[in-house]
Structures are given as structure tokens and as C-alpha cells.
């Protein structure tokens, strides 16, 4: 296993934590344990944006509906209610409809991000490349001149 080598390629400590979680047997559960690390959460948010865009941009937006339905069914979660709507809203907010995700509670947002990132980046996805891109986004948006007032939508 080249796990040690892979871990070494993540530029930040948060990146290494996220990568380690993605390499675990249950990526979503491992990612959810990072809730006490603000930097890991920040990175996870950008990783979600990167993973969602790589997966869904350029496809029929209804692909997000089908994906969420399959993901929740696989996780034995209710696929016909509020969680499904919130998950689709989050994904579509990442690919250009930010207003859809307004009002989703932070805890639910984090939970859904863990599920989606764990699925898109954890199972055979190119986790290192995705984390690298997410780290660049964090660095870019956290430059003082790029800081925004208030929180981002995702």
C-alpha cells in the first residue's frame, strides 16, 4: 500500500486528515469525526465543491436527483423526503445555484457533505488530486483580499 506516500502528498495537516479519512473503510463516518477540526471542515467544504463540480457539471441537472436517491438508498436513509431535498440542494448549490442551499442547518450540511464526499472522493476517486485542488481553493479564498463578509453558501 502506498498510503504513507499518499499521505505525504497532502500539503496541509487538514489535507492529511481528510485523505486519511477517505482511505478508511467507512469514509463518510471517518470524515464526520473531523467535526472538531475547523481547518478540516473548511477543506471538506471546498472538497465537496470540487467533487460535486467534477461529477455533475456538464451533465443533466436531474443526474443529481438520481445520484442522491441512489446514495441515500444505499445508506439505508429515507430517499423521498427532506434529507434528499437538502442533499440535492447542496450539490446544486455547488454547481451554480447557491440560493438553493440557504437555510440548511450547519450540522445537516456537514453530515451531507461527509456522505457525498465520502462517496465521490472515497470510492476509487482520485482523492489526492481532489484534495490538492480543494487546498488551492482554501488558500485562494482565505487570502485577505478574497475574504467575503458572512459565510459561504457551501
Amino acid at each position: 500500500m502506498g498510503q504513507i506516500g499518499q499521505l505525504a502528498t497532502a500539503a496541509t495537516a487538514a489535507g492529511r486528515l481528510v485523505l486519511e479519512a477517505l482511505e478508511s473503510e467507512h469514509p463518510a463516518r471517518s470524515l464526520s469525526r473531523l467535526i472538531d477540526s475547523p481547518r478540516a471542515i473548511r477543506l471538506l467544504r471546498e472538497l465537496f465543491v470540487v467533487a460535486a463540480r467534477r461529477t455533475f457539471v456538464g451533465r443533466d441537472p436531474r443526474a443529481a436527483t438520481r445520484y442522491v436517491n441512489d446514495l441515500l438508498a444505499y445508506r439505508s436513509l429515507p430517499a423521498g423526503g427532506e434529507v434528499a431535498r437538502q442533499a440535492e440542494a447542496l450539490i446544486r448549490s455547488a454547481i451554480g445555484e447557491p440560493e438553493l442551499a440557504h437555510g440548511i442547518p450547519d450540522v445537516r450540511r456537514f453530515e451531507l457533505i461527509c456522505y457525498v464526499v465520502g462517496d465521490l472522493a472515497g470510492s476509487g476517486g482520485d482523492a489526492i488530486a481532489l484534495i490538492d485542488q480543494a487546498e488551492r481553493r482554501v488558500a485562494r479564498f482565505d487570502r485577505p483580499r478574497n475574504r467575503t463578509i458572512g459565510r459561504r453558501s457551501v
Binding site: 441537472p61 434528499a84 431535498r85
Partner: protein
């Protein structure tokens, strides 16, 4: 040429006493009331819907105050479905649906309608399999009324067309009350 006279939004106060109700209760019996006559089963629920479409109802802030009975909910649901299917075809581009929903949510900002819930309800009316469980009843009513109003505006429905659409919704709701779904 004189403009066709629009039925006044009067909460049923000047309607046929046989079909007049004081609140949003269900009709006396719309199917029976209209049987053998040319009159549609005008009801308070329909009048309220017309008022909402004309931006003349308190529904501009979402759910009407006071109790809402099942019949009114069915009328508004049916009218919403009819308007959605008049505006969109099944399989319409999602961007087009989202744009309409976003406009409605913006126009009725005071009601704070959740855009994703409203969009799912529109898509459900078009026959898509979408998650519409666990919706708050007040959100349902708000979406049915306010999106109906926006769709009527977007379709530029004339008074006669609006009346026809509402009447059709009333007939469907009455039929459902006779034969429960």
C-alpha cells in the same frame, strides 16, 4: 369592445346562497350544486385562489390565516398542477423550471418559500420521481397558492382563462371529494 366582466373577489358573499359559505369550508356539494345548471361550482377556495393570482389576497405572505379545510387544499393543489402542466411539458429543462421557481420565490419573498421544495413540487406535478415527503403543510399551501399566482402571471392568463382554470380545479376537487383518492 367592452372588457369581459371579471367575477368579483368577494369571498363568496354575493354568490348563490345555496353555494355560499362563510369560511373556507368545503362546498355544500359542488357536484350536486352545479348539476343541471351552467354554473361552475364557485367556492371560497376558488375565489381565494383568484385573489392570490391577482395579488389581492393575504396569501402574498404565505399560508392564509385561519383554518383551511381539505377541500380548499385540494382546489389549490389541483389549480397548481393544472398551471404547472400548462406552463411546462414533462421533461422540460430543469434550468427553465428553476428560473420560474426562483422568480416566484423572489416575487413572494415575504413568504420565504424554500426554493428546493417548490421546485420539487413542480417536478412532481410533471410526473418526475422526486422527494416530496415530509413537506410542512404550510409550505405546501404557500407553494400551491403563490406559485400558482406566479405561473398565472408568467402565462399571462386573462380573466376568462384564469376563471376556467380555477373552475376546472374546483371540479376536480369536488370529484375527489365524491370519490376519495
Amino acid at each position: 369592445m367592452s372588457k369581459p366582466k371579471r367575477r368579483p373577489v368577494n369571498q363568496g358573499r354575493h354568490a348563490d346562497p345555496a353555494r355560499t359559505r362563510r369560511t373556507n369550508e368545503g362546498p355544500v356539494h359542488p357536484a350536486a350544486a352545479s348539476a343541471g345548471t351552467d354554473h361552475p361550482p364557485w367556492t371560497n377556495a376558488g375565489d381565494y385562489l383568484r385573489a392570490a393570482a391577482g395579488d389581492e389576497a393575504p396569501a402574498r405572505f404565505g399560508t392564509p390565516s385561519g383554518p383551511i379545510d381539505d377541500y380548499a387544499r385540494r382546489v389549490w393543489h389541483n389549480a397548481f398542477g393544472l398551471a404547472v402542466r400548462r406552463r411546462f411539458k414533462p421533461g422540460s429543462p430543469l434550468a427553465e423550471i428553476s428560473r420560474t421557481v426562483a422568480t416566484a420565490v423572489h416575487v413572494h419573498e415575504a413568504a420565504a418559500l424554500p426554493a428546493i421544495d417548490a421546485e420539487m413540487l413542480v417536478r412532481a406535478e410533471l410526473g418526475e420521481t422526486v422527494p416530496v415527503d415530509e413537506l410542512d403543510p404550510s409550505v405546501l399551501v404557500g407553494v400551491h397558492l403563490l406559485l400558482f399566482a406566479s405561473l398565472a402571471d408568467e402565462l399571462a392568463l386573462g380573466d376568462g382563462e384564469l376563471d376556467d382554470l380555477v373552475t376546472e380545479a374546483e371540479r376536480l376537487a369536488a370529484a375527489e371529494s365524491v370519490t376519495p383518492r
